[in-house]
Structures are given as structure tokens and as C-alpha cells.
């Protein structure tokens, strides 16, 4: 019984390390693109018209 629990925690711990490492690259790449999209959209929304000067 004890070995089943040890096996369970081994799977959880090693999977967590692998998952954190994977997300570091996956979310790092995709999240960066989403920030770019979000700021572009916010910039468009804050511009009153073609001559709008607000935003960066």
C-alpha cells in the first residue's frame, strides 16, 4: 500500500516539474503574443479616430 502512495507522489512531483518547465516556454511564447494583441486592441480602442493621438 505504501508503495502505491510513493508511486503516486513520484508521478505527481516529476509531472509537476515537467509541467512547470513546459509552461515556462509554452505560456512564455503564447502569453507574450497575447500581450501584444491586447495592447494593440486597447490602443485602437483608445484612439478616437484616424487622427487619434492617445496611446504609445
Amino acid at each position: 500500500m505504501k508503495n502505491i502512495f510513493i508511486l503516486f507522489w513520484a508521478v505527481m512531483i516529476f509531472s509537476s516539474i515537467a509541467w512547470y518547465a513546459f509552461l515556462l516556454f509554452y505560456v512564455g511564447f503564447k502569453g507574450g503574443r497575447e500581450i501584444g494583441r491586447m495592447t494593440r486592441k486597447l490602443k485602437q480602442q483608445s484612439s478616437p479616430g484616424p487622427k487619434g493621438t492617445s496611446g504609445p
Binding site: M1, K2, F5, I6, W9, A10, M12, I13, S15, S16, I17, W19, Y20, A21, L23, L24, Y26, V27, G28, K30, G31, G32, E34, I35, R37, M38, T39, K41, L42, K43, Q45, S46, S54, G55, P56
Partner: protein
């Protein structure tokens, strides 16, 4: 351990990057919707980064490592349950789907549509009291990690954490949720790197087999070896169902409690409300769920390794306890050059949590406590100014309440009870309001009052009776939920429907 020049360069680059990114986002804030929920433009991956970064603070790392030190790997069971709860909620959309569809800024705002403005105000008070008091302990515990991990003189703790809070306040007050999202993203990356590096170093230091064997020996032969010198594992280190560990009662209770946390805790729900739509919110939950296993499991691994390390040494050095053993252990294994990354990671964990919490509670105070009380509605600019001022105000309050002023007595008990008051009552109102057509304002009041009376009674009882007769946490917690649901049921069932306020206005 002394920080080298390289370590300091890494830390300064990280802090500068966060400040620049946070302040840069200020230019996109046009009104309250941008400030509180990022214009509801948050997509899946940014949501994962923000949710994970906010809910994994330095305080989390400290207490989950303490669970690992005291209960071995079984201490991470709560993380598994929380992950399960978040995945099921993300799959079914339970609570979060109608909540996002309602288009509100906060949970109490939903209650006005369903139960009336007074219930909104009272629920807002519960949310703020539970949340702000809960946050009161963050700074000190976070500071203790930095002190013990880096060898910083203890006298610097308050000054370092004050400076850190000051940086967080600047970008949170200026850019609101937009700044929080972008800095959370940076902090997610730095924090993730630090956690992975530290976990690999811990494994390399003691080895998986070494940690497992160390825990097994300490548990199986308490009369010999490490135990003889005063350091022993008193709970089963692998089996959470064992009577010496959590046991069945506590595990079952956690299933309810963690479901309430992922559907009710306002800082988590802020990410639901900031997402583009309900579908995005559900995907964020599903994909973040397994991260919560590591939220408990990886610091738990460090705590368990610290136990094995100090057990081999004979005992804990003087001045250390189960809370500070982990950072003290890490200070012995982190090589120069890497300590900078780990310290930056832990600063990231602290900053992301602080910023998210400061913004959330300030938004609730402005939106649900102040605005319903003013006769003339606040202008968008006025509401924005008020919320920014409240962010600063809460920061100052936390500085004195949680850092410079030491809480008397057992702070953990106090915070657990206040947190329970909030979760039990607000969870009941959410479930009743969204899924039970007969729920009304009387039921909501009864749920709020009974949900509060229960935990306070247990607090008083436990303070006056001897330790052997005290009420177990799972009994106290389950009772507060039971009382809140009973209040909602009886209050709504026994009264007429005449006081229902726009019950149909919420999309169910």
C-alpha cells in the same frame, strides 16, 4: 550565504523590468473597466500566467513547504484536491460561467441583481474583511523566506518588504489590472524558472530515493535514528488518509472547501471576470488546474527534503522551526549565481500575489462598499481615483498591520476563521443565487449571519476549552458551510417571494 555581484544584477534587472512594464501599461487605462478587469481582453495563456502567479505567493511557498516538513508528501494532497476542483469547475462552468456572463466587476455586484443592494453591501464587507485580513500575514512570512534563504540580517526584514510593497503599489495603483496582467506574466516566467531550478537542485542534492527513504525511516522507526535526537515525522509521510495525517474527514471537507475557493475567492474570480468570454474563463481553469498540484507539491518537496537533511544532521539548528527550515536548507544547496534567480523568483511570487490582492480588495471596496452609499453616482474618473487611492490605502494598512505590528496570539487560527466566514457565506449566496430560483434576500441575510456566527462560536469555544476538547478544523469548517446553507434554505423557504429583486435579471 552572501549574494554575489551577478545575483544582484539578476535581481535588479528583474525588478527594473517589472516596474517598466507595469508603469508602461498605465497609458491604456481609460476607465474602471480597464483598471479593474483589463477591459475584459484577457486571453487563455495570459490568464494562466496571471492566475498561477497570483495564487502562488511567497506565503504559499512557505506554508506548503511547512506542510511538506510536517506531513511529508501527503501534505501536498490539498493541492491535488484543489487541482481536481478547478478542473471540474473549468469543465462544467459551475458558478464561473454565469458569473462571467453577468458582466459584473465583482461578486457582490452580482448579489445586487439577485438579492438587492443591502445584500451586496453586506457581502462586500465580508469579502473585504476576509480578504484583507488574510493578506495581512503575507509580507512577514515572505520576508522570513528572504531572510533565511539569503542570510540577510533579520533587522532588514521590515525594510526590504516595505520597499518591495512600495514598488508593487506604484504599478498597481497606476495601471490596475492591465499592469497586474503584464507583470504577472513576467513574474510567472521568473517564478517558474526559479521553482524548476530549485526542485532539480533539491533532487540532485538528496535524490528521490534519499528523500523517500529518509521520510520512511523517520516514520517507521520513531524510537531510533533521527527521532532519538528530537526530529521525527509524526504523520504518515505518504498516505493522507492515515489517521496520523489528514484522515478521511479532513479530505472530504477539503473537497467542499477547495470547490468554494476556486468559485468564490475574489482574486481568482477577478481572472474569470477579466477574460474575454465564458469559454476562455473555463479554458483558463482547465489548463491551470494541474499547476496547483505543483503549487503544493514542489515547495512540499523542498520542505520534505529539509526535514530529511536536518534529520541527518541530528536536529534543527537553534532558532529554526518547521516554517523556516526550508529556506535555511535551500541556503545550503543553492550555488552562487543561481541564488539570484531563486531570490528573483521568490520576489516575483510575492509581488504578483500582492498586486493581484491589492487591486481586488480595492475594487470591491470602491465598487460594493462606497459606491452604493453615495447619493450621486461617482464619475468614471472619480471612481478610478477612488480605487487608486484605496490601493495605496490598503498597502499602508498592510504595512503597519501585517509587517511592523506583530499580531498577538495565533494569527493562523484567526485568519482561518475570518477566511471561513467569507467563503462559507459568499459561496452559499453564489450557489443559491445562481441555481435556486426560490433563493431570496431573507435567505441571503440568514446565510451571511449564520455563516459568520458558526466560525466565531468555534473560535470562542476553542479559546476557552482545553486542547484535547477543541473542535477539529474540518468540523468547524463544515459546520460553517452547513449553517450558511441552512440559513439560505430556511430564510428563503419560510418567507414570501415579494422581496425578490429582479431575480430574472441574472442569466442562469
Amino acid at each position: 550565504m552572501t549574494l554575489t555581484y551577478l545575483d544582484w544584477v539578476i535581481i535588479v534587472i528583474y525588478l527594473t523590468g517589472c516596474m517598466v512594464a507595469g508603469i508602461w501599461m498605465r497609458r491604456f487605462v481609460r476607465g474602471m473597466e480597464d483598471f479593474a478587469v483589463a477591459g475584459r481582453e484577457m486571453d487563455v495563456n495570459l490568464g494562466i500566467a496571471s492566475l498561477a502567479a497570483t495564487e502562488l505567493g511567497l506565503v504559499t511557498i512557505m506554508y506548503t513547504a511547512q506542510l511538506g516538513f510536517e506531513k511529508g508528501f501527503a501534505g501536498a494532497t490539498i493541492g491535488v484536491i484543489m487541482a481536481l476542483a478547478m478542473y471540474v469547475v473549468g469543465r462544467t462552468g459551475f458558478v464561473i460561467q454565469p458569473l462571467r456572463a453577468a458582466g459584473v466587476l465583482t461578486i457582490p455586484e452580482l448579489f445586487e441583481k439577485r438579492f438587492g443592494i443591502k445584500v451586496r453591501w453586506l457581502a462586500g464587507l465580508f469579502v473585504v474583511l476576509g480578504g484583507v485580513l488574510n493578506m495581512g500575514i503575507f509580507l512577514r512570512l515572505g520576508g522570513e523566506f528572504l531572510v533565511y534563504a539569503t542570510g540577510l540580517p533579520i533587522g532588514y526584514l521590515e525594510w526590504v518588504m516595505t520597499a518591495l510593497l512600495g514598488l508593487v503599489l506604484v504599478y498597481t495603483a497606476l495601471g490596475g489590472m492591465l499592469s497586474v496582467l503584464v507583470t504577472d506574466y513576467l513574474q510567472f516566467l521568473v517564478m517558474g524558472l526559479g521553482i524548476v531550478v530549485t526542485s532539480v537542485l533539491v533532487m540532485a542534492n538528496l535524490g528521490w530515493t534519499g528523500i523517500v527513504d529518509g521520510l520512511s525511516q523517520s516514520w517507521a522507526a520513531p524510537q531510533n535514528g533521527a527521532a532519538a535526537t528530537g526530529l521525527k515525522m509524526s504523520a504518515h509521510p505518504f498516505n493522507p488518509l492515515h489517521s496520523s495525517s489528514f484522515g478521511w474527514g479532513y479530505i472530504l471537507w477539503q473537497l467542499v472547501f477547495q470547490t468554494a475557493v476556486v468559485t468564490t475567492w475574489q482574486t481568482t474570480i477577478s481572472r474569470v471576470l477579466s477574460s474575454k468570454d465564458e469559454h476562455t474563463a473555463k479554458r483558463i481553469y482547465r489548463r491551470t488546474a494541474f499547476y496547483l498540484v505543483g503549487r503544493f507539491g514542489l515547495p512540499g518537496l523542498w520542505g520534505a527534503a529539509a526535514f530529511v537533511y536536518f534529520a541527518k544532521q541530528g536536529a534543527l539548528p537553534e532558532g529554526l522551526d518547521s516554517l523556516t527550515a526550508m529556506p535555511a536548507y535551500l541556503s545550503t544547496i543553492l550555488p552562487m549565481g543561481l541564488i539570484g534567480i531563486v531570490v528573483a523568483a521568490m520576489l516575483a511570487a510575492e509581488m504578483s500575489t500582492d498586486s493581484g490582492y491589492l487591486l481586488t480588495w480595492a475594487t470591491v471596496i470602491a465598487n460594493d462598499l462606497v459606491e452604493p452609499c453615495v447619493k450621486k453616482p461617482l464619475s468614471p474618473a472619480g471612481k478610478l481615483l477612488l480605487t487608486r487611492t484605496l490601493v495605496l490605502g490598503i498597502g499602508v494598512f498592510l504595512l503597519f498591520y501585517g509587517l511592523w505590528y506583530q499580531l498577538p496570539g495565533n494569527a493562523w487560527d484567526y485568519l482561518a476563521v475570518t477566511g471561513n466566514i467569507y467563503l462559507a457565506s459568499v459561496f452559499t449566496l453564489l450557489v443559491g443565487g445562481l441555481y435556486w430560483p426560490r433563493a431570496n434576500a431573507y435567505g441571503a441575510y440568514a446565510a451571511l449571519i449564520l455563516g459568520a456566527i458558526g466560525p466565531l462560536t468555534f473560535l470562542v469555544v476553542n479559546a476557552v476549552v482545553s486542547k484535547s476538547h477543541q473542535i477539529a478544523p474540518e468540523v468547524a469548517g463544515a459546520s460553517s458551510f452547513g449553517l450558511a446553507f441552512l440559513g439560505m434554505f430556511l430564510g428563503s423557504w419560510l418567507t414570501s417571494d415579494s422581496d425578490k429583486v429582479a431575480a430574472s435579471s441574472v442569466a442562469l
